[in-house]
C-alpha cells in the first residue's frame, strides 16, 4: 500500500470491559537513576525527564542516590498527613452523597504528591495549587474544620460562600486561592517567583496542574517565563493518567513525557514515581535547592494514578477498565510508605490501626463542629449581602443600589 498521511487518534489503553494495560508507562528500576549536582545545567541532565526516579523498591527498601535519608519521625508525619488526607476525603465524599455538600473532589492514590512536596518546601514558599491538592492544606496545618466550612459554604466559610467546594485559600498558610479554571495558577506562580527574585528573597513558588491541563496555553506561558527569567519556581505536572474521561495521550503524553517539556524550554525536567513518598520528597528538595541557589526552575512530572472518580459528578466505570487501579504498577502511596516504615522497624499494623482510629475521630469531631456553623440546608446561614462585598476594595454606589434591590426582593 502507498504511504500517505494519516490522522492518529490516540486510543486509551483500556476501556470498560477490557483488561487493564499499563505497558505504556515507562518504569526505571528503583535506585537506578543518578542524582545530578543541584547546579547542573538543564541541557546536561535531560535524561531525568524521560527516566523515572524511584527510591522505594518492591520490598519497601529505600535505595539509590535519591534516598533522602529522612528521620523516621518525619516519615511518620508524612504517613499521618497522607492518611489524614485520605480519611478526610472519604468523609467528604460520603457527606456529598448524603446531600450535605454540593460537590467534592478526592485525591485518592495521589496523596504523596501534595504531602511529600509540601514537606520538602519551607513555610515561606508560596503554593499555587490545583483542585486535587488537599494534601497541601493538610500538610501546611490548615485546620480540617476550616476546610469543611469552605465545602459547606457556611457562616465560617473562608470564601464567604463564593466558591465551589475545595477551592480553598490561606493567606497565612501561603496557599493561593484555587481558581477552578484550569492551569491559570501555573504562570501566576512564575510571576510570584519572579517577584521574589526581584525583591531578593529566597522564597520560591510551587504550582500544580494535571497532565490534562498542561495542554492549556498557561502551561506553556509558565514554562517560557520561568525559563526566560530563570524564576525560582517548581512547576509540577501531576500525571494521574486521566483528565475526566480523556487519557493522557490527548495532552500529548503518547509521544513524549510531560517532564520532557522542561528541557524543550531549557529548564530542568524530571520524572518521578509520584506514589513513592521518598522519591517525591527527594526530587522536590533537589528542585527547591536549585531554585534557592539561582540554578532556576524545575518541571517535575509526578507519575501517579487517579484512583477515584474525577469528582463526585463523575463515574469512571463509563470510560475506563473497572479494576484499573489495582493493576497500576506504582501501587498505593500510603501502603508503600507504611511498608517502608514497618521494614525499618518504625511502624506496625497495630500503630497503623491506632492512627487510623485517631484520625477517623479527628475528622468526625471536625465535621461535628463544622456543621454547627451551618450547612447548605440547615443551621445558621451566610448573609446574602456578602455577595456584593469584595468585588472591589470599596463598594461602589452601583453595587450598594443592587444590594438594596436584592434586600427588597427578599422582603
Amino acid at each position: 500500500m502507498k504511504n500517505r498521511s494519516r490522522l492518529h487518534v490516540p486510543k486509551a489503553p483500556a476501556r470498560p470491559g477490557e483488561a487493564p494495560d499499563f505497558s505504556y508507562v515507562h518504569l526505571s528500576p528503583a535506585g537506578a537513576i543518578s542524582r545530578p549536582d543541584i547546579n547542573a545545567r538543564a541541557r546536561d541532565i535531560a535524561f531525568l525527564s524521560t527516566e523515572l526516579v524511584r527510591v522505594l523498591d518492591d520490598a519497601g527498601t529505600a535505595v539509590g542516590p535519591w534516598h533522602p535519608h529522612l528521620d523516621p519521625s518525619d516519615l511518620q508525619i508524612g504517613l499521618r498527613h497522607m492518611l489524614l488526607t485520605r480519611i478526610f476525603d472519604d468523609r467528604m465524599q460520603r457527606t456529598q452523597r448524603a446531600g450535605k455538600i454540593s460537590f467534592y473532589i478526592r485525591s485518592l492514590g495521589e496523596e504523596a504528591v501534595s504531602v511529600a512536596q509540601c514537606m520538602a518546601l519551607r513555610p515561606g514558599d508560596m503554593l499555587f495549587p490545583s483542585y486535587r491538592n488537599q494534601g497541601l492544606q493538610i500538610a501546611r496545618g490548615i485546620p480540617l474544620v476550616d476546610l469543611m466550612n469552605q465545602t459547606l459554604s457556611n457562616t465560617r466559610d473562608m470564601c464567604k460562600g463564593r466558591q465551589l467546594p475545595v477551592m480553598y485559600h490561606s493567606k497565612a498558610g501561603n496557599i493561593f486561592s484555587i481558581s477552578g479554571n484550569l492551569a491559570t495558577q501555573f504562570p501566576q506562580a512564575v510571576g510570584w517567583a519572579m517577584a521574589a527574585a526581584i525583591k531578593g528573597e529566597d522564597h520560591l513558588a510551587a504550582s500544580w496542574i494535571g497532565e490534562g491541563s498542561s495542554a492549556e496555553a498557561d502551561f506553556h506561558h509558565a514554562l517560557l517565563f520561568a525559563s526566560v527569567y530563570q524564576a525560582p519556581a517548581i512547576l509540577n505536572v501531576v500525571n494521574n493518567q486521566w483528565a475526566i474521561s480523556t487519557f493522557q495521550g490527548y495532552a500529548g503524553g503518547e509521544q513524549r513525557s510531560f517532564a520532557a517539556r522542561g528541557p524543550g524550554y531549557g529548564i530542568a525536567g524530571i520524572r518521578v514515581d509520584g506514589n513513592d513518598f521518598l522519591a517525591v520528597y527527594a526530587v522536590t528538595q533537589w528542585a527547591a535547592e536549585r531554585a534557592r541557589t539561582g540554578a532556576g526552575p524545575t518541571l517535575i512530572e509526578l507519575v501517579t494514578y487517579r484512583a477515584a472518580a474525577h469528582s463526585t459528578s463523575d463515574d469512571p466505570a463509563r470510560y475506563r477498565a473497572k479494576d484499573d487501579q489495582e493493576h497500576w504498577p506504582l501501587g498505593d502511596p500510603i501502603q508503600r510508605l507504611k511498608q517502608h516504615l514497618i521494614a525499618l522497624g518504625e511502624w506496625s499494623e497495630e500503630r497503623h490501626q491506632a492512627l487510623t482510629a485517631e484520625l477517623d475521630a479527628l475528622v468526625g469531631a471536625s465535621w461535628k463542629e463544622a456543621v454547627t456553623y451551618g450547612t447548605m440546608s440547615e443551621g445558621p446561614k451566610l448573609n446574602a449581602d456578602l455577595m456584593f462585598e469584595d468585588v472591589f476594595k470599596d463598594m461602589p454606589q452601583s453595587l450598594e443600589r443592587q444590594r438594596a434591590l436584592m434586600r427588597a426582593e427578599r422582603g
Partner: protein
C-alpha cells in the same frame, strides 16, 4: 507645569510612581531597552534598572498572569499590552483571574495590577491595530476601566490607577497621543503644546476614578463621550452652533452617573458617542442609565454615535471613524425633535 503630550504625561506618571514606590514594576513587549513602540516608557529602564522595567516575551497571557503573580507577592505591576487588539490572549487571565481574585478569596488576596493599552483608530492601523474593546472589559465584574482624552488627565488617572488596590484596564486613545484630534484627518495636526490640557504638573497629582469632567458646559444638549470622541464632539457641536454640554467620562467603571444625569436633566437632550462598535457597546449602557434616570426630563430619543459594526477597515478608515458628520447627524436628530 510643563508642556507634555500624552506620551510624555504617561511616562511622567510611571516615572513618578517608580521613584515613589519600590513595589511598582513595569512590564511588556518592547517597553524596556527600547522604551515601547509608542515611546511611552522611554528612559525608564535606564533610570530604574532592568528588573523594574522588564522586557517580556510576546505572550499577553503570560504577561497578565505573571503580573498577577507578582501582585500577589506584594508588587504593583503596570503591564503594557502593546495594542488593545493584542489583549485577547490575556483575556482569560484578566476576566477569570485578575478581576475575581479579591472576590473569590474573600479579600485575603488582591491583585493591584494596571494594564495599559493603546486603543482606537485613526493611525492607519487596519483591523488589528485600531480596536476599542473597552466595552468587553466594562462587562466584567471586578475591573475598573479608564480612558483619558488628554495629557493632564492621562497622568493623573494613571497615577490613581497604579495606586488603586483594584485591577484597572487603562485604555490610551493612540490618535490623541500627540495632539487633540477633531475627527478631520485632512487638517494639519494640532500639538498638545497648543492646548491647555497639555499643561501638566511635573510632580505627583491624581485625577480620581469615577469622576467625569464637563469639558464644555451648555444648555442645548448633553453629549456623553470619552477618549477620541471628546474633541470630535466639541468640534461637531461648535460647527452646528449648538450650546452643547460635553461630558468626558474619563473612567467607565466606576461610572459617574450623577454628572451624566444632572446634565441631561438640565438639557433634556442626550447624545452618546464612542469610537467602538455600536452593537452591545458601552454606549448602550450609558443610554440605559440615562433613560432609567432621566426619562421624564427627555425631550427627544437619545441618540448613539459609534463605529460601524464591522471590523476596522484599513482602506476605509475615515468612512468607518465616527467623525463630525456622524456626530452632527445625531445632534440634529436630538435637537430638532419637537
Amino acid at each position: 507645569m510643563a508642556n507634555m503630550n500624552m506620551i510624555q504625561a504617561l511616562n511622567s506618571a510611571m516615572d513618578i510612581m517608580l521613584g515613589k514606590d519600590p513595589s511598582v514594576v513595569l512590564m511588556g513587549e518592547d517597553i524596556g531597552y527600547f522604551g515601547g513602540v509608542f515611546r511611552t516608557t522611554e528612559g525608564l529602564q535606564r533610570k530604574y534598572g532592568e528588573q523594574r522595567v522588564l522586557d517580556t516575551p510576546i505572550a499577553e497571557g503570560g504577561i497578565v498572569a505573571a503580573a498577577i503573580g507578582m501582585s500577589i507577592n506584594g508588587l504593583r505591576p503596570v503591564a503594557e499590552i502593546q495594542f488593545a487588539d493584542y489583549i485577547y490572549p490575556g483575556f482569560d487571565q484578566i476576566v477569570s483571574e485578575l478581576a475575581r481574585i479579591r472576590y473569590r478569596s474573600a479579600g485575603e488576596f488582591f491583585a493591584p495590577v494596571t494594564i495599559r493599552t493603546p486603543c482606537g483608530g485613526g493611525i492607519r492601523g487596519g483591523q488589528t491595530h485600531s480596536q476599542s474593546p473597552e466595552g468587553i472589559f466594562t462587562h466584567v465584574s471586578g475591573l475598573k476601566v479608564v480612558m483619558p482624552s488628554n495629557p493632564y488627565d492621562a497622568k493623573g488617572l494613571l497615577i490613581t490607577s497604579i495606586e488603586d488596590d483594584d485591577p484597572v484596564v487603562f485604555f490610551e486613545p493612540k490618535r490623541l497621543y500627540n495632539g487633540p484630534f477633531d475627527g478631520d484627518p485632512n487638517k494639519p495636526a494640532v500639538p498638545w503644546s497648543a492646548h491647555p490640557k497639555g499643561q501638566v504638573p511635573e510632580g505627583h497629582y491624581s485625577v480620581p476614578l469615577g469622576k467625569a469632567e464637563i469639558v464644555r458646559s451648555g444648555a442645548d444638549v448633553t453629549v456623553i463621550t470619552y477618549g477620541t470622541m471628546v474633541f470630535v464632539a466639541l468640534a461637531a457641536a461648535a460647527a452646528l452652533g449648538l450650546d452643547a454640554e460635553i461630558i468626558d467620562l474619563r473612567s467607565l467603571v466606576p461610572l459617574d452617573v450623577d454628572t451624566m444625569c444632572t446634565s441631561v436633566r438640565k438639557t433634556g437632550r442626550c447624545v452618546v458617542a464612542h469610537e467602538a462598535t455600536r452593537f452591545s457597546g458601552f454606549g448602550a449602557e450609558i443610554l440605559s442609565v440615562v433613560q432609567e434616570e432621566c426619562f421624564w426630563d427627555l425631550e427627544a430619543p437619545i441618540q448613539r454615535v459609534a463605529g460601524w459594526d464591522t471590523p476596522y477597515p484599513h482602506a476605509f478608515e475615515w468612512e468607518y471613524f465616527p467623525g463630525q458628520a456622524r456626530v452632527a447627524t445625531a445632534l440634529k436628530a436630538v435637537t430638532e425633535a419637537p
